[in-house]
Amino acid sequence: MLLIECPYCGVRDESEFTYSGEAHIVRPLEPSALSDKEWADYLFYRSNPKGLHREMWYHSAGCRRYFNAVRDTVTYKFKCVYKIGDSQPNLDELSSSAKHPADVEAK
């Protein structure tokens, strides 16, 4: 049961939020200039990492703002949250701040 910090409302229970997938997937400015393959990459292909993941959440039952977060997909711990438009945190720095082995490796 995640506990999520909305950058606007503060820490709230998971049930107030809607997960919104990988963050920073920018819509191509000129879709028609893309090959089918490039377009498919934008549409469907995801990094789906095991470990730190930049992802989007929607505070659907709260302030209805989307925001970004870095979460570990193994420990499910949030490393940080940041507003849309804020610069992306550096994943390497975040992962080196892992508290202990269990933080990075599944049981």
Partner: protein
């Protein structure tokens, strides 16, 4: 290989079961194999078995990072059916169903495939339209199916709540009589034993940590037990597929999510079929041991933790209480999760890749147990011939580029 039978059991009983052979060997990896299958789940083991059996490839290995069958194979709700909507999917799953029907004999291992029938409930008029559509399509595809109305359903499943007063009353169901369940662990073990018997090396505690390739061709795999050379590598790692793809410098149209399930304490037989409901989101059957086996929907977020959120369990439990109010005083014994590799069209990827000799079989998401034999069968063909079988041609990666998706969300809503 010791042949398993009632007679061998009796004979071995006389020798205090001291003479049973290992079900499979525990070999050290060779330097080189003709082909390597990464992932010792049901699909990987089945692939190796059919490669050996159907394509005569004997110098092959299955590499499993943990213990075989410990991934989703060991944590699914074991529902088997083939009543998928679209032709491509129906044919693939039906192939699997046919293999299931002779599997215990073929493997000489009782996988306890129990054709107790599977009901998919409809709760809205649109559900019923979809059910009609799917059953009609199934019949024309040679897949058995039947639409059952609420009154008939009540007769067949006396404890199902078909009251018009429930929140989303049961209006009817589709029924596949040949569907049912199988003993998940036995499937992995049966394939492992049969594959081993044909010379396949099954290597546990051997994690693939990298790929070697040259000129766009695969050379072999780096593993926790060292480098192993092979011109062909088939990756069948379900929830970990993206991680493996990443090692090879590829990306896949997949996301890995937690999917949870739970069992009750064992109780005397009370439910002799499988009941699934997309609308209220739960599915239930009773195992041969007596526990009610119940599956939930996926947790929304990406996760490799083999666990999910409690709300998902609560939600599913509410659904089960709606369908079977009589189970309210029964107790939940254990809950767990798996990592499912979900694909945008709820259909698998059984495909060559841009790297020659590297193949992926993944994206089965929440519903691949039922496909275990069929998946192995077509993937064996694909790897052995460097070309898909006609049954899996439509499931290649290029469909994401062309747009020829096979959208099974309707049939697969909760796809188990």
């Amino acid at each position: 290989m010791n042949k398993y039978s009632i007679f061998s059991l009796a004979r071995n009983a006389m020798s205090h079961h001291e003479k049973w052979q290992r079900a499979w060997r525990s070999p050290s990896p060779k330097k080189r194999y003709d082909a390597i299958i990464v992932g010792g789940g049901g699909h990987g083991l089945a692939t190796a078995y059919y490669m050996a059996k159907e394509h005569g490839m004997r110098n092959i290995a299955v590499l499993e990072k943990g213990w075989i069958g410990g991934g989703n194979t060991g944590r699914n709700t074991t529902i088997v059916r083939s009543n998928y909507l679209w032709d491509e999917a129906a044919q693939l799953y039906e192939k699997s169903m046919k293999l299931w029907e002779g599997l215990s004999q073929d493997l000489n291992y009782n996988v306890m495939f129990s054709q107790r029938g599977v009901y998919n409930l409809g709760h809205t008029l649109q559900d019923m339209r979809d059910i009609q559509r799917r059953v009609n399509a199934n019949r024309l595809n040679g897949v058995d199916g039947e639409v059952v109305d609420a009154a008939e359903l009540q007769k067949r499943i006396p404890h199902l709540n078909c009251s018009p007063d429930s929140r989303y009353p049961v209006l009817g169901a589709s029924f596949q009589a040949r569907g049912g369940t199988a003993r998940h662990d036995a499937v992995a073990w049966g394939f492992a034993r049969a594959a081993d018997n044909l010379g396949v090396d099954i290597i546990q505690n051997c994690e693939v940590i990298g790929f070697r390739r040259e000129n766009g061709e695969i050379q072999g795999v780096e593993t926790s037990q060292g480098y192993i050379e092979s011109p062909k590598v088939g990756v069948v790692t379900a929830g970990s597929s993206s991680v493996l793809a990443n090692m090879a410098g590829l990306r896949l149209p997949l996301e890995s999510h937690p999917l949870q399930a739970f069992v009750s304490e064992p109780i005397k037989p009370i439910l002799d079929t499988v009941v699934m409901s997309n609308a209220v989101h739960g599915y239930i059957s009773q195992s041969d041991k007596g526990d009610l086996v119940i599956g939930a929907g996926i947790d929304s977020y990406n996760g490799y933790g083999q666990r999910g959120s409690f709300t998902t369990i609560e939600h599913t439990m509410t659904a089960i209480m709606e369908l079977f109010p009589i189970f309210s005083r029964v107790r939940m014994n254990r809950q767990w999760g798996g990592i499912v590799d979900t694909c945008p069209d709820a259909c698998p990827i059984i495909s060559k890749t841009d790297i020659k000799g590297l193949y992926f079989n993944c994206g089965w998401g929440t519903g691949g147990f039922k496909a275990t034999p069929g998946s192995g069968w077509v993937f064996a063909h694909t790897v052995a011939n460097d070309n898909p079988h006609e049954l899996n041609a439509a499931f290649a990666l290029d469909r994401f580029i062309s747009g020829a998706l096979i959208d099974e969300h309707g049939a697969a809503g909760v796809a188990h």
